[in-house]
C-alpha cells in the first residue's frame, strides 16, 4: 500500500508549509486544528520557533464545536487575537478535522476580514498534502496581494523564490545564496520568504529575473512571469560547475525573457548515484553530479513540476515504491536524508544529506551548506581513497 510505512517518516505537511512561508512577514496565521498539526509544526518543522517569535496559533478545535459546526468561535477568536496583536495580515488554514466537517475557509476569511479590518487570506490546507503545496499557495498569495506595479526595472535584480527552512535547514544557506548572487553581479531585490519584510517583497516587480530555489516558489514565479514579464530560472547554486551554469542561465533568462530550468541537466555515465530529495534543490544537486560525470538520477517523493523532472528521474513517493525502485536501480550511491538508510539496498553506499522537511530536528547540527563551491568540499569529504564517492 502506498500509504503505509514500516519505518521511514513522512514529509512535513501543507499546514507547515503555509506557516513556514509566512513566518517572517508580520502576519498572524491561525491553524484550525485541535493541536496535533500545529504542535508538529512548532516542534519539528520550524527551527525559528525558539528564537524568533511569530504570530502562529492554533484554534484548539473541540469535539463539540466540530459536531455543531461552530465556525463562529474560530472567527471570533481570530478577530479577538488580531485586535490584541495587530498583525499586518491574517491567514487561516485548515487541518484534517475542518476538512471532515467542511469548513468554508473562503467564507471564514471574508468574515474575519470584515470584523477585524485586516486583510485575511484563506489557505486551503488539510494536513494531508506536502508542505510545498501549502508554501506554494502562501507565497503566491503574498505575491498577488503585495507586489507593487512595476515602475522600474533593475537590470541585474533577482528575486529568490521558495526559500524555507524546511528545504534550507542550514541557516547559512539563504544568506549564502544572496552572497553568491552578489558575487556574480546580481543584486537581490527580494527573497520569498526569509530575511525580508513585506515592504521588500512588494518591490519584487523590479527584478529582471527570479531564481526559484524550491518547488514552493514556482507558483509565485509563474505569477511574476505572467503579470510582470519577469522570467524565472529553477535551480540552487550547488557545486562550482552547476553554479556557473545557473549564473549563466540567470543572465540569459534576464536577456531573453524566457524561463529556464538548468536543474534538469543529466547525462553523466560514471557511477550511478540516486539523489532522493526536493524537486529543485535535489534536482540541482543531481545536475551538479551529472556535470561531474556521475550517472545521477533524482527521486522526488514530493510535489513537483513534470517539466522539472528529467528523463530517468522518478516521482516514487512511498516507502514501498522507493524501496522497490532502488532495488531495481541498484545505484552505487544514494544521497538522501539519513532516515532513508532503513530502506536502501544492501551494500549501497549512503551519503546522508539531512532534509529538515523529512527528519526535522534529528540532524540539525549536520545540515551542510552546499552553496556553490562549498558543495565540492562537502562531496570531497564523502569520497574514498580512490577519490570516488
Amino acid at each position: 500500500m502506498k500509504q503505509t510505512a514500516k519505518i521511514i517518516p513522512c514529509y512535513a505537511a501543507d499546514t507547515s508549509g503555509v506557516c513556514a512561508a509566512l513566518y517572517e512577514l508580520g502576519g498572524m496565521i491561525a491553524v484550525h486544528d485541535a493541536s496535533g498539526v500545529n504542535s508538529t509544526y512548532a516542534t519539528h518543522d520550524e527551527p525559528r520557533w525558539e528564537t524568533v517569535q511569530s504570530m502562529i496559533y492554533v484554534s484548539g478545535l473541540t469535539e463539540l464545536d466540530a459536531i455543531l459546526g461552530n465556525d463562529e468561535k474560530f472567527i471570533a477568536d481570530v478577530a479577538a487575537a488580531a485586535a490584541d496583536q495587530k498583525p499586518r495580515f491574517i491567514a487561516v488554514c485548515g487541518s484534517p478535522m475542518p476538512m471532515m466537517i467542511g469548513v468554508d475557509f473562503d467564507a471564514v476569511a471574508m468574515e474575519i476580514e470584515q470584523r477585524s479590518g485586516i486583510r485575511t487570506f484563506p489557505m486551503h490546507t488539510n494536513g494531508m498534502h506536502a508542505y510545498s503545496e501549502g508554501a506554494s499557495e502562501a507565497l503566491l498569495a503574498i505575491a498577488e496581494e503585495y507586489v507593487l506595479p512595476r515602475t522600474e526595472k533593475t537590470a541585474n535584480g533577482v528575486n529568490i523564490l521558495g526559500a524555507l527552512p524546511l528545504d534550507f535547514g542550514n541557516p547559512q544557506e539563504i544568506p549564502g545564496i544572496r552572497t553568491w548572487l552578489r558575487e556574480n553581479g546580481f543584486s537581490v531585490i527580494s527573497c520569498f520568504a526569509m530575511g525580508d519584510s513585506l515592504e521588500t517583497l512588494a518591490q519584487a516587480g523590479k527584478a529582471a529575473v527570479s531564481l526559484v530555489v524550491s518547488y514552493s516558489g514556482l507558483a509565485a514565479a509563474e505569477y511574476l512571469y505572467h503579470c510582470f514579464g519577469i522570467p524565472y530560472v529553477c535551480g540552487v547554486p550547488t557545486g562550482t560547475a552547476f553554479s556557473q551554469m545557473l549564473a549563466d542561465a540567470l543572465r540569459h533568462a534576464a536577456e531573453s525573457g524566457q524561463p529556464e530550468s538548468p536543474c534538469t541537466y543529466r547525462g553523466g555515465n560514471g557511477r550511478t548515484v540516486a539523489v532522493i530529495g526536493e524537486n529543485i534543490t535535489g534536482g540541482s544537486l543531481t545536475a551538479q553530479l551529472a556535470y561531474m560525470g556521475y550517472h545521477a538520477k533524482l527521486i522526488c517523493p514530493l510535489p513537483h513540476a513534470e517539466s522539472l523532472l528529467a528523463d530517468g528521474d522518478s516521482d516514487a513517493s512511498s516507502e514501498e515504491e522507493i524501496e522497490a525502485l532502488l532495488a531495481e536501480m541498484k545505484p552505487d550511491v544514494v544521497i538522501a536524508d539519513p532516515l532513508y538508510r532503513f530502506i536502501l539496498p544492501n551494500r549501497t553506499k549512503h551519503i546522508g544529506l539531512p532534509h529538515y522537511a523529512f527528519s526535522g530536528r534529528c540532524f540539525e547540527k549536520q545540515m551542510p551548506d552546499l552553496t556553490a563551491d562549498r558543495f565540492d568540499l562537502w562531496l570531497q569529504n564523502q569520497t574514498d581513497k580512490e577519490g570516488t564517492i
Partner: protein, 436 residues
Amino acid sequence: MQQLEKPPVCRIADADPNGAFASGLEYNPPVRGMWNIVHMGMLVPEAHQVYACAQGCLRGVILTAAETGQLDRLSWISLTEEDMFNGTLETSLVEGVSEIIEKIGFHPPMIPLFLSCMHLFAGCDFDGVLADLSERYPDITFVDCYMTPTMRTTITPVAQCSRQLYMGLKPLPQNPQSVNIIGCDRATDENSELIRILRGAGLTLRDLPLCKTYDDYLQMAESRLNIAYLPTAHAALDALEEKLGIPQIYLPARFDFDGLRENYRMLCETLGIPLPDLSDAEQAADAALRAAKQVIGDMAVAIDYTAVTRPFELAKLLCTYGFRVKHIIADAAGEDGEAFAWLQQHQPELQLWSPTNVNMLHQHEQVKEPVLAVGQKAAYYFATDRFVNFVVNGGYYGFAGIRAIAELMQDAYQNSKDRKPLLRHKGYGCDSCLLA
C-alpha cells in the same frame, strides 16, 4: 497601555477556579518536556505502535520516535481524503496493519493501533478492524488506542492512552503479594514513603515503567491492588477494575503534610499492614523547606502546571514556609481547588498566567525581576536559568518528594542551567538525539 481583549494574566483573587481565562486561539511555547502518547506507548516492552492518521499529525508521532532513537518500534498508515469517502476506511486499516506486520518480519506480542479524530468522525468500525486483525494474527494482542485531541474535553489524550495501554492485560489468578502502581510514565522515587511502605511489607511492586519484558507487563494482571496518584490515572483505574476486578486506591500526589498522612493511613488500612512511623521523613521535608527558604530568600517563585499535578497546593506549602510565590502558570484549579481558595484568601495578589494565551507570545521578553521557576513553562515564560527541570512531579512523591523538590529549588537557585537545550528536549527523561 493597550487594553487587551483577552489578557493572559490575572490576580488569583479575581480568578475563576474552573477556568481563569477566556477561551481563544492558543500559543504553543517552545517547551517540550511533557510526554505524548508515543512516549507512553514505548513503555510497553516489545510492543510495536501503529498510527493511522493524516500526514500533518503523523509527522509529530514519527519524529517523536525518531528523536528517541526508536523508529523501529513504530509504523504508520497515512489517511487521504479518498479514504474518508470511498468506503474503504476499515479494509485499509486491516490491510495496512497486515502489510506492516509482514514487512517488519516478526510478530510483536502487542500492537497498540492508534486511530485519529477523523476515524471517529467517519464512524470507523474499530471493533470490526480489531476483530479481523485478531483473527489473522491470533498471537498478537491488538489494542485500540486513540490520537484524538479533538475529543480532549471528553477525555484527555494522556488519560485515554494511559488507560488503553493496560488493555492488553489478561486475567490471572490473584497474587496477594503483588500490587501495581498505575498511570505513571516514570518510576516512583524509591526514597518515597509510598515505595518504602510497599517494599517494607514484602510486597512485589509492579509498574509499567519498571517492566523490562512483555511478560513483566502481563504479570501486572495478578496484582491485588492498583494504586495511582496522578489525576490522569482515574480512567485506567476504573477500566482495570472493570476488566480484571482489581480494586483501586487513589492517593493524590499532595504537597500537604496532613493530606499525605491520610494517604498513608488509607494505604496501610487497605493493605492490612501497620502504618510505619514516618516522622523522620516529615522532619526531613520540613528541614529541606526551611533550608531552601534560607538560601532562596525573597526571590520570586513561579510554578507551572506541567511540573506538578497540584501547583496550587505546592504554592500554598511554599507560602506557609515564607517563599515569595508570585506566579502560577495554570488555566484552572484541577484537583487542588482547596489550595486555590486558600491562595485567593491569603495571597490575593499572586499572579495567575495562562499557559497558552496568544498574548503570552512575548512574555519572556518582558520579565521585570529575577525568578526561580519550578517547571519548564515557568522557566521559559520568565526567562530564567534558575529552574527545577522536571514534568509531572518527576517521579517524586510524599514527604520525600517535598524534600526533593525543596532541594532541587535550592540547587536551581545556586546552580543555573542552560535552559534552551533542556526545554527543547521532547519527552523529559527520554533518550534524545538532540542531546548527542
